[in-house]
């Protein structure tokens, strides 16, 4: 007993040691390993180890035709599946200079915003759960179910829809679509107040998130942290505003910006974005023009030789698609600039000198999706 008391405590605290967070850890939301160097419980540095779910999608794309590539993009960021499909379609349509019918633009935009809402709902659920509020998880998943039901009816699938195809969408919307979207928005507008009551104004939550994981605007730009995480640092990086596509140039919505630069700001951006997404859907849902749900496309799609780039705003940030075409029906090289990959790179920088418990909150506020990192 005497020996233990006489241990030089200061020496123990000075010593740095490493622990592995993951690859199986509830707060990494997938197979990501963080090697964390700790001094006491203070994070001194961390090294992410990726690749546990690397499937070589970019290599596979070089063997697939463009309509086939769409099915792989679902699997990159599965929570923004619609938005990823949209990126490929926009790129093909831009390269072939095809105008898609107005109806398609409306449907795609509504679907994108539904995807954004359900992605943020799941993010909110797991954020709450990571910080110990298990109720959040049940609330979020309960409400997300309504969107999955809407998708199931129209696209035939709940999760990985592959609903977009070059030139349009796979099939027309279900007759119930508008009615059910209305009913979802009506319900969710009431429910989202509960979200704020549980977490946003909660004292414990505020103490866990305010002033934690500071990311300045300059660093956000330098590290390429886009999406709600970048906008939480006051960086106006919304692709929907900067380079509008589909209907985003014609609807009114605010780009949500917060200037707190901390975990709480990134949280508030996403909460506010759900309101904005509902606002966009409300402007479009009653005005879907009649017409074809797809433009006429050739059976075999070949892009003219050249290089193309297409950006879209996925739920996590800027998704970029870089394609080198040699004129064949398969891309010569296809690169996905995924938002989570760049967002992960900043984790070491912003979690230094924070407590290891804060690392969980910071990681959750970046909203990482691991297949989006590994591809």
């Amino acid at each position: 007993m005497k020996e233990i008391i006489n241990l030089p405590v200061s020496k123990i605290e000075e010593e740095e040691y490493h622990i592995n967070m993951g690859p199986q850890h509830p707060s990494t939301h997938g197979v990501l390993r963080l090697v964390v160097s700790l001094q006491g419980e203070i994070v001194k540095s961390l090294k992410p180890h990726c690749g546990y779910i690397h499937r070589g999608i970019e290599k596979m794309c070089e063997k697939d035709t463009y309509p086939q590539v769409i099915h792989l993009t679902d699997r990159i960021d599965y929570l923004s599946a619609h938005i990823n499909n949209h990126a490929v379609c926009l790129l093909v349509e831009k390269a072939l200079e095809i105008d898609v019918p107005e109806r398609v633009k409306y449907i795609r935009t509504i679907m994108d915003e539904l995807a954004r809402i359900q992605s943020h709902q799941l993010w909110w659920s797991s954020f709450g759960m990571d910080l110990g509020g298990l109720t959040c998880f049940f609330y979020g998943l309960r409400d997300r179910e309504m969107i999955l039901d809407i998708w199931e009816e129209t696209t035939g699938s709940r999760f990985l829809q592959s609903y977009n195809c070059p030139g349009g969408v796979m099939q027309d919307i279900h007759p119930n679509f508008q009615k059910r979207v209305h009913s979802f928005i009506k319900t969710f507008k009431k429910k989202i107040k509960d979200y704020d009551r549980i977490l946003s104004g909660n004292v414990i939550f505020e103490q866990r998130s305010q002033g934690v994981g500071m990311l300045s605007k300059e660093d956000a730009i330098s590290y390429g942290v886009t999406g709600p995480s970048g906008r939480g640092s006051g960086w106006s990086c919304d692709v929907r505003k900067n380079e509008p596509y589909s209907m985003y140039g014609q609807v009114h919505f605010n780009e949500v910006l917060r200037y707190g630069c901390d975990t709480y700001s990134r949280y508030m951006v996403r909460m506010q974005e759900m309101h904005e997404s509902m606002n966009i859907i409300e402007q479009l849902i009653d005005n879907i023009p009649s017409g074809d749900y797809s433009a006429k496309m050739k059976a075999v799609i070949k892009l003219p030789a050249g290089e193309y780039y297409q950006k879209v705003e996925s739920a996590r940030g800027e998704l970029g698609l870089y394609v080198v075409s040699d004129g064949n029906k398969t891309p010569y090289r296809m690169k996905f600039r995924t938002p989570s990959f760049s967002n992960l790179s900043v984790l070491d920088h912003i979690s230094r000198d924070m407590k290891i418990a804060d690392l969980v909150a910071i990681g959750a506020s970046l909203d990482l999706v691991i297949p989006d990192i590994d591809r």
Binding site: K59, D219, S222, W235, S236, E307, Y309, G320
Partner: protein
């Protein structure tokens, strides 16, 4: 700044650039030796202000290996594409730009992992997705893997 004046400004900094045809972005191939200087100028000159490296990709053009930098200025809202190419397929190497844009650190590791292109002065150049023991660079066109890649 529009594409013509951007090109004129860059020709002032690096005289021997080649323009490639691209409908969307001004695309310039610069000599590999001048890459780091040019990158610093692009980032730090106020009227250019390319502070956001939004994509960094490796490309295997068959004979040549290339690295493609997509740059954007958040203040001036203009974009540009810079390419560097090398004929050396055994020991391809370029200077790192991760001291200029921090996001390049991970992207360069990925390019090294998939194409075997080394980046001089990179602080932590290791494979990022594949095992350290992995043989070859999968995204190169001459990569062969009879076990995992099934040819139809």
């Amino acid at each position: 700044m529009d594409n013509d004046s951007l090109k004129a400004r860059i020709l002032e900094i690096v005289p021997d650039v080649q323009q490639e045809e691209n409908k969307q972005y001004l695309t310039l191939v610069v000599p590999a030796g001048r890459l780091h200087d040019l990158a610093g100028e692009l980032r730090n000159t106020p009227d250019l202000g390319f502070d956001f490296l939004f994509c960094l990709s490796g490309v295997d053009y068959g004979k040549q290996l290339a690295v493609v930098y997509h740059l954007n200025s958040t203040a001036h809202k203009h974009s540009i594409v810079i390419k560097v190419k090398t004929d050396d397929r055994v020991n391809p190497a370029f200077d790192t730009v991760c001291d200029i844009w921090r996001t390049a650190e991970f992207h360069e590791r990925e390019t090294y992992d998939m194409f075997g292109i080394r980046f001089n002065n990179h602080p932590d150049l290791r494979r990022i997705f594949l095992d350290e023991e992995w043989k070859g660079y999968p995204l190169r066109k001459d990569y062969a893997d009879e076990v995992n890649i099934v040819e139809f």
